[in-house]
Symmetry: C2
Subunit: 218 residues, 2 copies
């Protein structure tokens, strides 16, 4: 359907459109892809030709509905594969990006449908980023740090910010992984530490820990 290079451009532009609202400049694309502006100009002209984005010379680009769909689908595949790598193959959350960059380009609708089902149709990847659905629709839900959650509120762990082996092992010991429900029982203003409940265990966590866990409020 689309070449590897095309998919990578669409994905990069998609991310940039979300990061800064509005048109995306040639230079911004070049920087994010670690390539040269002249190469970007070449490619965006081809993508405009294919109606995947709109382009006016010197004015930057904007993805069309079709372009967005293609990009979101690549991102969907990337994030689903990351879940697979972490949940099934027991990779650490910080080892999976490079491999997912390759796997995201595998072409097969059926494969992704089955992979999604196999993984239990997850809503978030191991970094806490939402996984677009099969129509490319991205649930625009803000992920928050656990430290931002108020007393008596609950959240689902959707990822981590820090991902050192030490931290991951700590989480493991505390039985916190993706999808784990966390209830904030108490919060100390003095040092930002918290008392939380995970399954039936209640325990203390430091501010540092709370600032490195992403949750989705529920």
């Amino acid at each position: 359907m689309f070449t590897l290079a095309e998919e990578n451009y669409l994905k990069a532009i998609f991310h940039l459109e979300h990061e800064f609202q509005g048109e995306v400049s040639t230079n911004a694309i070049a920087e994010s892809m670690e390539t040269k502006p002249s190469s970007v100009t070449d490619m965006i002209q081809k993508l405009a030709e294919k109606k995947l984005l709109t382009y006016k010379r010197y004015k930057g680009v904007q993805l069309t509905a079709e372009g967005k769909k293609v990009a979101a689908n690549v991102i969907r595949k990337h994030r689903l594969w990351e879940v697979f790598l972490v949940e099934k193959l027991k990779f650490h959350w910080d080892q999976v990006h490079e491999i997912a960059e390759q796997l995201e380009h595998i072409q097969s609708e059926e494969l992704i449908t089955r992979l999604d089902k196999f993984l239990g149709s997850p809503d978030f990847d191991p970094h806490g980023d939402p996984i677009p659905d099969k129509h490319g629709v991205l649930k625009r839900t803000e992920k928050k740090l656990l430290s931002e959650i108020d007393k008596n509120q609950k959240g689902v762990c959707v990822g981590v910010k820090e991902s050192s082996p030490e931290f991951l092992q700590y989480l493991d010991k505390k039985k916190i992984s993706i999808g784990t429900k966390i209830r904030v029982l108490g919060k100390e203003f003095f040092d930002g530490s918290m008392i939380i409940q995970v399954f039936d265990d209640q325990f203390f966590i430091s501010k540092t820990v709370a600032e490195n866990i992403y949750v989705q409020t529920i």
Copy 2:
């Protein structure tokens, strides 16, 4: 490490060396890869340059130890992914080749180590072909048809020849899948039918069925 095209050439040559012993001709490669002989000449000169094969003009090629290792590794990846697709994602045995052709080029030692472990280090792919080990060594064991097995002998199902949904459903009903042990209790010369034992069940199968199951004698 190696490009997609290079890996595909090495793989094709590896298969041809096993199919017909000795040197592999330019034309044979071209035919098996559905490309033109002139393109093959170009590529084999590059591969010879890289010491992956030996090449004398007009005399065909032969993989070096290094070339064989690279090829066997690609085949290892291909076959492991096929096992994943069938065993975990529940694809049918005849739907997986194309997807595995893509997955076999994903570059990550660690990924394959973990995938292999996740799958229980299988020895055979869903078509009954052996999976090379991590050093590229291919256990040269002949797969046989179940119909060739003698009375009172045992075999492990390593794959199927026919792979229509109907046949696969039949096997499913009889609880026969990859790794299943089958003992031949009796054989009828008249029509080639058999009585076999699978787990604790004993039942009759026709010659047609016996001729479409690959086994490894044990």
